[in-house]
């Protein structure tokens, strides 16, 4: 096992982590600020990917697809917030889990009816189709580097938004004291709608960026949704910084587990047993990580507040 391969796998882990962060950022924002558990976040991710795929096919351009998918998904998010979720802010998490579970069923079936039961095509822009040899002998897909760049840019922008802008100040204030912000004459309902729209847009960004490397199909959001919750919970609910750290941690554990467990286990067991056992362990690795983190820190690594 060469050190270069280890380096490449670490890079793969980081990249998966950034991908997960793109998903987790919107989720943790909505969760932390509005205290809303939105299982349908994965559905918005799916909507974003499907819309981008549709538009990209018409226009022939991934970038146009991306630029259309973001506002469209944000709009879908705003409508869902206005119609249903708005009434859930004062309710407990259980109600939110159930209602948004219902929304998942709705979105999946709606997507099947609109786009059909088959997976659809979405490819990245041609100028990102090549590979860059950042590690000698292992050309790295340029598109994956682009995902890392977009993910880090989102992290920085979110950080600036929350810490430096008036909107961010209101968001932070709204999170800690709804009544106070309302008393200051700020329309808290509009603020929340705005934040939810932003969260939906981030979900769409995740979905569109994932489209060229993953299958764009009905139900694509659910699989990644659970991983995203693992990320958010490990990082600490509501913390953008926690989401980033959690995402990278999950990405690394998952990737390195898949990459190196088989080899390590072969040292002790027969190759067939090792292959099978390591696959099982790799499937469970991120959940074991989450349980371990919560045993150690019941509120995640970076508890946001309270």
């Amino acid at each position: 096992m060469s050190p270069l391969l280890i380096l490449e796998q670490v890079l793969n882990g980081l990249q998966l982590g950034v991908m997960l962060f793109l998903m987790a950022a919107g989720l943790t924002l909505v969760l932390g600020i509005m205290n809303l558990v939105n299982l349908a976040h994965g559905s918005l991710y799916m909507v974003g990917a499907f819309v981008a795929a549709m538009v990209a096919r018409w226009s022939g351009s991934f970038v146009v697809g991306l630029l259309v998918a973001l506002p469209v998904t944000a709009l879908v998010g705003v409508v869902v917030e206005r119609v249903a979720l708005r009434r859930l802010y004062e309710r407990d998490h259980l109600d939110q889990v159930l209602a948004t579970f219902g929304l998942i069923l709705f979105f999946n079936e709606a997507a099947t009816m609109i786009w059909g039961p088959r997976a659809v095509y979405l490819d990245g822009p041609s100028w990102l189709s090549g590979a860059v040899e950042i590690i000698p002998g292992a050309p790295y897909p340029a598109y994956r580097l682009a995902i890392i760049a977009v993910g880090l840019a989102v992290a920085v922008l979110l950080y600036l938004l929350v810490t430096r802008t008036r909107l961010g100040m209101l968001i932070r204030a709204g999170a800690s004291n709804r009544e106070m912000v309302s008393a200051l004459g700020v329309d808290i309902k509009r603020l929340y709608t705005l934040v939810f729209g932003l969260g939906a847009m981030l979900a769409a960004l995740g979905g569109v960026m994932a489209g060229p490397i993953y299958a764009v199909e009905v139900g694509m959001g659910e699989h990644i949704l659970i991983q995203t919750f693992v990320v958010v919970v490990i990082g600490g609910i509501g913390s953008v910084r926690g989401a980033l750290v959690g995402a990278v941690l999950v990405g690394l554990v998952d990737t390195l587990g898949r990459a190196f467990l088989p080899g390590m286990l072969t040292l002790f067991l027969g190759p067939a047993t090792a292959a099978s056992l390591s696959a099982s362990l790799a499937s469970m690795a991120i959940y074991i990580l989450m349980a371990a983190v919560l045993v150690w820190r019941p509120s995640g690594l970076f508890p946001a507040h309270g």
Binding site: H93, L98, F106, N108, I226, S276, L294
Partner: protein
């Protein structure tokens, strides 16, 4: 009054269902009814921690699935004549309900003890998510459990032998499930009315106060979690006999969601709520699925509406009408 009428009427109907179905030539209904009662039992088990203890477990399907697997695995070993364990002691399989079902409950109780001991250190959303994480872990465990079929699942050679019942007969199976459900409901009623139940409900309302009053709330919650897991294991043992097949799909996270829905739809924190919820949910699914293959597009928004406007659930509403709450 309404409540009493419904309870008595429901019981009479439940008892009379098999002969009625036979009279109308609808024997298959008995099988459907048995499945509904099994899901009701799973709902009742979740209701103990969710409705009375305020613990939102999003991983209850794990116990349901483990219970089912224990029965199937024991039956498999009995059928093959291979012992399950040869060291440190020889343990064989069993097709006897009197052995397999309690073992299923016991295994679930032990697993619930371990999972609960870890999960109950957290609360709120963290609790929801960590229970989900454990269920996912177990799901993948069974997917890769090759000797017992992995994702393909495992067929039961025959249903458990539960003398004097013949479980391959739909009616006898139905009556046994009904009897078990009634028995568990009776135990639940006693449990909830007991001091233990009072403390549990107290914890749901205000855990700090209960702590201040000197109750070791963690232990009470853990005990409830273990009982709940064991009862879910019984429901799992029954579903394994109903389907005569088990597979990891019994532990799917969506199934945990469905059990939650059963409890909420019926009315959490009411004794008979999960039963009403299971009847309503599974019937709804049947009717919608036969009406259109896009049934989920109706069921989804319906769930949202229930959460928004009918939070007390079906039985909760009935209890309220009867002035019980």
């Amino acid at each position: 009054m309404v409540r009493r009428t419904l309870l008595v009427g429901g019981l009479v109907l439940a008892l009379a269902l098999p002969p009625l179905a036979a009279a109308f030539g609808l024997d298959y209904v008995v099988g459907v009814a048995a499945r509904i009662l099994i899901f009701a039992l799973a709902g009742v088990s979740l209701n103990l921690i969710l409705g009375y203890g305020g613990m939102v477990s999003f991983g209850h399907a794990a116990f349901f699935g483990i219970g089912a697997y224990v029965v199937a695995i024991l039956s498999y070993h009995a059928d093959q004549g291979e012992p399950l364990l040869t060291w440190p002691l020889v343990i064989g399989g069993s097709e006897l309900a009197i052995i397999a079902w309690p073992v299923a409950m016991l295994v679930c109780a032990v697993v619930a003890l371990i999972i609960g001991a870890i999960c109950l250190r957290t609360s709120g959303l963290y609790f929801i998510m960590i229970t989900l994480a454990f269920a996912q872990m177990l799901f993948f465990f069974f997917v890769s459990l090759e000797p017992y079929g992995g994702d393909d699942g495992l067929s039961l050679a025959q249903p458990s032998r539960a003398w004097p019942f013949d479980l391959s007969d739909d009616r006898q199976f139905y009556y046994l499930v009904l009897a078990l459900l009634l028995f568990i409901l009776y135990l639940m009623r006693r449990l909830i009315a007991s001091r233990f139940g009072l403390v549990l409900r107290g914890i749901r309302e205000n855990e700090r106060r209960m702590q201040a009053m000197g109750f070791a709330t963690y232990r009470y919650k853990l005990a409830a979690f273990v009982i709940s897991g064991a009862v879910a294991g019984l429901a799992g043992a029954l579903i394994a006999n109903h389907t005569e097949f088990v597979s990891p799909s019994f532990l799917d996270w969506r199934r945990s969601g469905e059990i939650l829905v059963v409890v909420i739809l019926g009315g959490m924190g009411t004794l008979y709520g999960p039963v009403a919820g299971a009847i309503a949910y599974l019937m709804l699914e049947e009717v919608l699925a036969r009406w259109t293959e896009h049934w989920m597009i109706i069921l989804g928004p319906l769930l949202v509406l229930v959460v928004l406007y009918a939070k007390q659930g079906l039985w909760g509403t009935i209890e309220k009408m009867s002035g019980r709450r």
